[in-house]
């Protein structure tokens, strides 16, 4: 073993060392669960993007005669809903809404939350108190209640859903960003950069962000699945996307009374939500492992 390493080392050293992101990609490519999750997500995203071309029917056009057709019914592979609309078409179109409602707030939270958290953590003092205590106000409410309250105040519709979910997720990201920043700020390489005469901007750009954005990104990715579920939940309650638009949470709501007539069809949007959020969770787990710096 010792001989093997001794023999391997010079050869290994002689090869050009991999850059950080290439190492991350290399590790991701070797993680089977992450690869499967990534594959599933790619299919979901592609099918949502290509919904206008993939969907066999108009997702809003129904037929009274064909209500609640079972899965596998002729012409309707995944059956029809309580208004006789094609389930496959609605699931494809609904995915667009759900993905937008799940990804946008997290993206907003990542950008806004990182900025606020890094400022609070690096500047400290009064800025920290102001930013962090304001975030604590939002933290005082459970996420679901906060989202419902804001959406209820703003009224239904996709833009309002995005606003209310962003408000839910920004404080979470700020907290993670602030604690990561405070931790890195105290490390000696930041002091070394200051001792070399570097200004705040150079230190933040080259030394702080590079070490802080990774953990924030990983944390944000874990929030995507929660955002998807919350967005679906808001639609389910009638506070999110408005009918007749297709959205998985909304579909789940309108189909719920049909569960005794045909159990499989109402389960489909739930299954779609489950698979998508699960895939995001697995992907973020894989990302976390791959981005870890191993000594």
């Amino acid at each position: 073993m010792a001989l093997a390493t001794a023999l391997m080392e010079p050869a290994e050293l002689a090869t050009a060392p991999m850059s950080y992101w290439r190492t991350v990609a290399w590790r991701l490519a070797r993680d089977r669960a992450t690869l499967v999750a990534g594959g599933v997500l790619t299919v979901i995203v592609l099918s949502a993007v290509l919904a206008p071309w993939l969907a066999p029917y108009d997702p809003a056009a129904g037929s009274i005669r064909l209500r609640l057709a079972a899965v596998g019914a002729p012409g309707h592979v995944l059956g029809t809903d309580e208004q006789g609309r094609d389930m496959l078409s609605r699931l494809l179109w609904g995915g667009r809404m759900t993905l937008v409602a799940g990804l946008t707030p997290v993206l907003v939270a990542f950008v806004l939350g990182s900025a606020l958290g890094v400022i609070a953590g690096y500047v400290g003092g009064l800025s920290n108190t102001l930013i962090m205590r304001t975030m604590d106000i939002f933290y005082a409410f459970p996420a679901v209640l906060l989202a419902i309250a804001i959406s209820g105040a703003l009224g239904p519709g996709l833009p309002n859903t995005l606003i209310s979910l962003s408000i839910v997720f920004v404080p979470r990201v700020v907290r993670v960003a602030e604690s990561a920043t405070v931790q890195v700020k105290g490390l000696e390489y930041i002091a070394a950069a200051r001792a070399s005469g570097a200004g705040v901007r150079a230190i933040v750009r080259h030394h702080l962000l590079a070490n802080v954005l990774g953990p924030i990104l990983v944390f944000s990715s874990t929030q995507v699945s929660l955002a998807i579920i919350l967005a679906a939940g808001l639609s389910f309650l009638g506070l999110g996307v408005t009918p007749p638009a297709a959205e998985w949470g909304l579909m789940l709501n309108t189909l719920r009374q049909s569960i005794y007539v045909n159990a499989l069809v109402p389960a489909l949007p739930g299954l779609a939500i489950f698979v998508t959020s699960m895939a995001f969770n697995l992907l973020s787990d894989g990302l976390r492992d791959a981005m870890e710096i191993r000594g």
Binding site: L13, A16, P17, Y20, L187, E188, Y189, A191, A192, A193, R194, A195, S196, G197, A198, G199, A202, H206, H207, A210, N211, I293, R294, G295
Partner: protein, 329 residues
Amino acid sequence: MTAPLLEARGLRKHFPLRGGVLQRTRAWVRAVDGVSFEVAPGETLGIVGESGCGKSTLARLLLRLIEPDAGVVRFGGEDVLAASASRMKRLRRDMQLVFQDPYASLNPRLTIEDTVAFSLLVHGVPRGEAAERARALLGRVGLDPRLHGRRYAHELSGGQRQRVNIARALVLDPKLLVLDEPVSALDKSVQAQVLNLLQDLKAERALTYVLISHDLNVIEYVSERVLVMYLGEVVETGTAEALSQSPKHPYTQALFASAPSMDPDHRMDRLPITGDPPNPIDPPSGCRFRTRCPSAMPRCAEAPPPRVPVGAAHEVACYLYEAEPARVA
């Protein structure tokens, strides 16, 4: 005597200890309390003391990485604490710091070469030239720039990282290097290599060192003059020889007595100090060492003893020597 390169006068830093709901200051940690000394150009001053005696805080005060509550730092006669931001940036090129922890002191996301070149880029050196100079210096400190330059800190050993640390500090061609426990995290064999490298570099580049360590062997090996600190105060200063031959302060005596000796015939004949140093939040009145001092007297509790000369460039802050007439040669 030549003008000192670095001069500290009455340096003081107390850290507030906050607590309670309103984050009011409950107490002060007296990390550095009235420290004064001078370092001549080309000299190596060793600063020795137990953990928690304020050595690292002192290092950061000297480089103005933290602002002192009181006192003066002069570098080449210039008041460092009064320097403007742009002047400070220029001054930083002349005074650099080598850190203690070879793990926390290197950015894990930068390659070794970029770590060293960063300081040059900050000072406006073009990218290509900065990389060139970084590689040359990596070679000088004993790393192969082609083998290690594009690697990350976590791919190197502790000793290699400390070499990178030294290269980063030297890349701006400083006059003064403050070494904060530069070898305490390394194996004994690697310690010697790094210390020898530091000695060679000092001769080569006409450097002045302030070496901070808790290890008397390290201090004796490289220092010409030694400053002994106890709980944020200087208790004794003198040449390395004078201190090891005839330590005056009971604390210095105890330090030398407790240092393991290489010579089996040289056995411990004095009792090394026992117990932990008192809490710097609430240090003892008068002489801070009196709670552990074998020759403590009632007056030690009354007022801190002044620093009195006991030999050529040898001063001690202890009432035991007050009566002795100064024998300045």
